[in-house]
Symmetry: C2
Subunit: 214 residues, 2 copies
């Protein structure tokens, strides 16, 4: 068995176990048993459990990002693309093994003591934020909306992780659709006012989705 295949095999086992029972809940012996590899070789591939943990998270995150992108790009319409994210979440939530976002869970477990894990979580979440931002910009909407959608995605994952089921994704999708409509409505109103009157800010809820910096 060649290097890469073994590595993948170990990471498969690690992902299944770490995700399912938490990193602390899984010993290196468990990884050995599940991957059918010797401890010696395991440590040859990953010099410490920490390395394996990070490799697991990195691979998982990369794969899920890719899956998300593929799913989103099946749609043409910018609004559909945004809503497709929630459909993708919904399909993930149907997996009975779904236990929430691996990075959120790992952040809760290790974020306080491992800079590497905390950094991974931050970088991935920042990526999600930026991805949403790009989709929102492509839809001609203000970027503040992207952060609101971001909050919805994270919240849906947490709730689905704790309770299971797709309802959180469904509700988040509904909320996202409403926010899209309301924001577009507000944007139109503002444009109307701008052309008809002056360019001063418009009172009301759409003010709240304007840029806030981060």
């Amino acid at each position: 068995m060649d290097h890469e295949a073994v590595r993948a095999q170990v990471l498969d086992a690690a992902e299944r176990l770490f995700y399912g029972r938490g990193v602390h809940g899984v010993g290196m012996d468990d990884i050995r048993d599940a991957s059918g590899i010797s401890l010696k070789r395991l440590y040859g591939l990953f010099p410490a459990k920490e390395h394996l943990t990070e490799a697991y998270l990195e691979r998982r995150v990369a794969r899920l990002r890719q899956e998300l992108i593929v799913h989103v790009e099946e749609y043409e319409d910018p609004d559909d693309r945004i809503l497709a994210i929630f459909d993708w979440l919904s399909s993930r939530f149907t997996d009975p093994a779904y236990r929430g976002c691996a990075l959120i869970n790992s952040y809760g477990e290790l974020g306080a003591t491992s800079d590497a894990v905390a950094g991974l979580a931050r970088r991935h979440k920042e990526w999600v934020r930026k991805y949403l931002r790009d989709l929102v910009i492509a839809a001609g909407l203000p970027t503040g909306l992207a952060d609101q959608l971001w909050i919805l995605t994270e919240g849906a994952m947490v709730i689905a992780g704790i309770f299971g089921g797709q309802e959180a994704a469904t509700q988040a999708r509904s909320a996202a659709a409403l926010l899209l409509d309301a924001t577009r409505q507000a944007a139109r109103t503002r444009v109307d006012h701008q052309t008809a009157e002056t360019a001063t800010g418009v009172a009301g809820s759409e003010m709240t989705v304007s840029e806030q910096g981060h």
Copy 2:
């Protein structure tokens, strides 16, 4: 020093340490040092670390619920009450020690291996859901909105926990305000249609906030 005072002292130390470094990241020795109590007495109060962990979570959750209720009830208007939740979150996020929702973190850390912690998380989140539901009903809005607001609160806590700062609360509040408006708008539209025509469902985004069961 009497029983209750010592117990509170231990729980204070436990909360500070467990919340800040995670349960696994804190040893009973650390609790002893931080609380200034002997291991013997500590184990007299809490026969195992697990008990202490659960007591910490229970006390924290009870206190925060109470704080939330007090804050919300400062307002009269039903909509203001709902939005007050996000102001309360925002104020919590300003604490530099804020590291996210203790239950979400603990669920990530222990939920897979401890039924007690998983149950605590579920019960508390269910309480939040119900609390939001009551507020939404009091505002004369459909309960589906409550679940959407719930998602926003959980998402905001996650993002604030990872990145810090109040922005997540601000954005969540904005989204909540938009959802309130849009839902009320839709409810009015539906009522108009109902009185003018028949009672059939109305197409469009407000369908999505109708009941879905759980």
